[in-house]
């Protein structure tokens, strides 16, 4: 602690600035309402109903929700509301979870025949739990943020030891030669590569199917211009895993706003159309939920928030 004596307006504002309650989605979400054939109400309530099984996720036209949301955000921007971006990125996270959820629910759920089907069923429940958990942690994070801010208004006394006490300290034992010290410095200064999070075990159980790779294939086909049905897109898939990977890839691409879905009704044929203005889009912008390395999905939600 080496406090400076210079009065600082910057430090001052850091200590006093009020944040709009960044952690409480309830208070911020209040504005956005979803209007669907089978549901009208705030987005949060929609999530709540889905999580309580009172509304089947497969009955929710997510495209409609998204369209409405985009309209809502545009309106906010026109009104000069500066938290539109926050709300938009939060929506993306939640919508992505909903999409995953819907993806899992839409998968054929007939007889449980093999381990793959069981895995898919479990994945569906996990997604469910994840959605709930995510919401809970979001609320808790809001509470923690408020606590941290309140607590930051107290400054601990942590002054340097007074000279006469410092003089009492026993002489340091020092056994390093300059060379050993340099070695230590070299070690300490070496850039630290992020340690691998863990050793992946997935490949031991199933042949790897890369969502990213499938996204590239989907992207290539769709960029030709003509809308394609999902059936066409998976016609050459030789395993269920490839079908799943392609579907997830499409969801990811939808999240990247480069494609659009059309589906006249539940379980009707799903048509996919390229809408990306950016002809340069490639799969490297995909989330690393499936692939390690990229950062793109992270950036939207990582950098938004209260700053």
């Amino acid at each position: 602690m080496g406090p400076s004596l210079a009065p600082s307006t910057e430090a001052d504002s850091a200590a006093t600035a009020d944040t709009p309650d960044a952690g409480n989605p309830g208070s911020r979400k209040a504005g956005f309402e979803v209007r669907l054939a089978n549901f009208t109400g705030p987005f949060d309530l929609l999530l709540g109903l889905i999580s309580k099984h009172k509304l089947d996720i497969t009955e929710v036209a997510l495209a409609t929700v998204t369209d409405e949301f985009i309209k809502y955000i545009r309106r906010l921007q026109e009104l000069g509301e500066d938290w539109a971006l926050d709300e938009a990125s939060e929506f993306l996270v939640i919508a992505a979870t909903l999409l995953d959820l819907k993806a899992a629910r839409l998968l054929p759920s007939g007889e449980v025949e093999d381990a793959e089907d069981i895995a898919l069923l479990e994945a569906r429940d996990l997604l469910f739990a994840r959605l709930l958990q995510y919401k809970a942690f979001k609320q808790i994070a809001g509470i923690m943020g408020e606590t941290l801010e309140q607590e930051a208004r107290r400054y601990p006394r942590q002054v340097a030891l007074e000279g006469h006490f410092a003089a009492l300290l026993p002489e340091l034992v020092w056994r390093h030669t300059p060379e050993q010290f340099a070695e230590l410095a070299a070690k300490a200064l070496k850039p630290k590569d992020a340690a691998p999070a863990e050793v992946g075990l997935d490949h031991l159980h199933a042949p790897p199917v890369s969502v990213k790779e499938q996204a590239e294939i989907m992207g290539y086909r769709l960029k030709l211009g003509a809308p394609l049905s999902f059936q066409t897109l998976i016609a050459d898939a030789d395993t269920t895993l490839v079908v799943v990977a392609r579907f997830l890839a499409l969801l990811e691409m939808f999240r990247d706003r480069v494609i659009a879905f059309e589906q006249p009704g539940p379980l009707a044929e799903l048509t996919v159309r390229w809408t990306g203005a950016d002809a340069d889009w490639d799969s490297s912008s995909l989330s690393e939920e499936y692939e390690a390395g990229a950062e793109s999905y992270g950036t939207v939600s990582e950098e938004n928030g209260s700053e």
Partner: protein, 218 residues
């Protein structure tokens, strides 16, 4: 000489000084730069933990504006200066005692103390911190799975800020596990992670999922 006697001598010695044991404790509180436990303070002052804890509570009350003798003060109809809150407070956080400036004066104190000022955490950092706090020890991959995004850079920032730390490796996967630090407790103003708000009220419609998802941890 028995230990009991030594301890008694310690107290007698302190009481002989101007201001007594209470002032001696105050003097020690002036030089600590991190929370000190009542055991550490008792050992340093050579008195029992019970004595130190009484003294700490006295001081805490006094700094907050109520002297132990408040009724007497009322009785003589004289509002002594010591019944007004002081500019600082004594708090028990992260398992130890430490003196802090009172939060009412944050704006003024902030003009003098530039460092130690922490910039506010982003929403992403807060959420990651929350997950780690409630799931510790936990790997980055697991936090990622819960938050649905890659958390590597946020975890790095939190580590640099001293809010979380490496707590060894998962015996199965070998993944680095993270836990919150005592500095985190200090910043939250709590004594231990057990004092964090309950998570369950924030989990809607949880029936069954809890056991399924994470029986051991909720």
């Amino acid at each position: 000489m028995s230990e009991q006697e030594t301890v008694q001598d310690g107290l007698a010695e302190l009481e002989a000084l101007p201001g007594g044991a209470r002032a001696a404790l105050e003097a020690v509180l002036m030089v600590i730069d991190q929370p000190a436990t009542s055991e550490e303070l008792a050992a340093g002052l050579n008195v029992t933990v019970a004595v130190v804890e009484d003294l700490l509570q006295d001081l805490q009350r006094e700094y907050s504006g109520y002297t132990v003798k408040a009724p007497d003060v009322d009785a003589v109809g004289f509002a002594d200066a010591s019944t007004a809150p002081r500019g600082f407070e004594l708090r028990n956080v992260a398992g130890g005692w430490r003196i802090y400036s009172r939060s009412d004066f944050a704006d003024i104190v902030g003009r003098f103390v530039l460092e130690g000022q922490t910039t506010r955490l982003t929403q992403a950092a807060l959420e990651t911190l929350a997950v780690i706090a409630y799931r510790q020890p936990v790997s980055r991959a697991r936090v990622s799975a819960i938050r649905g995004v890659n958390v590597d850079s946020v975890v790095r920032t939190l580590t640099q800020r001293g809010l979380i730390e490496d707590s060894g490796n998962d015996p199965e996967s070998g993944a680095v596990l993270y836990r919150t630090t005592s500095y985190f407790l200090e910043r939250m103003g709590i004594g231990s992670v057990a004092e964090l708000p309950q998570l369950s009220p924030h989990l809607p419609g949880l029936e069954g999922i809890e056991e399924y998802y994470d029986a051991s941890r909720m």
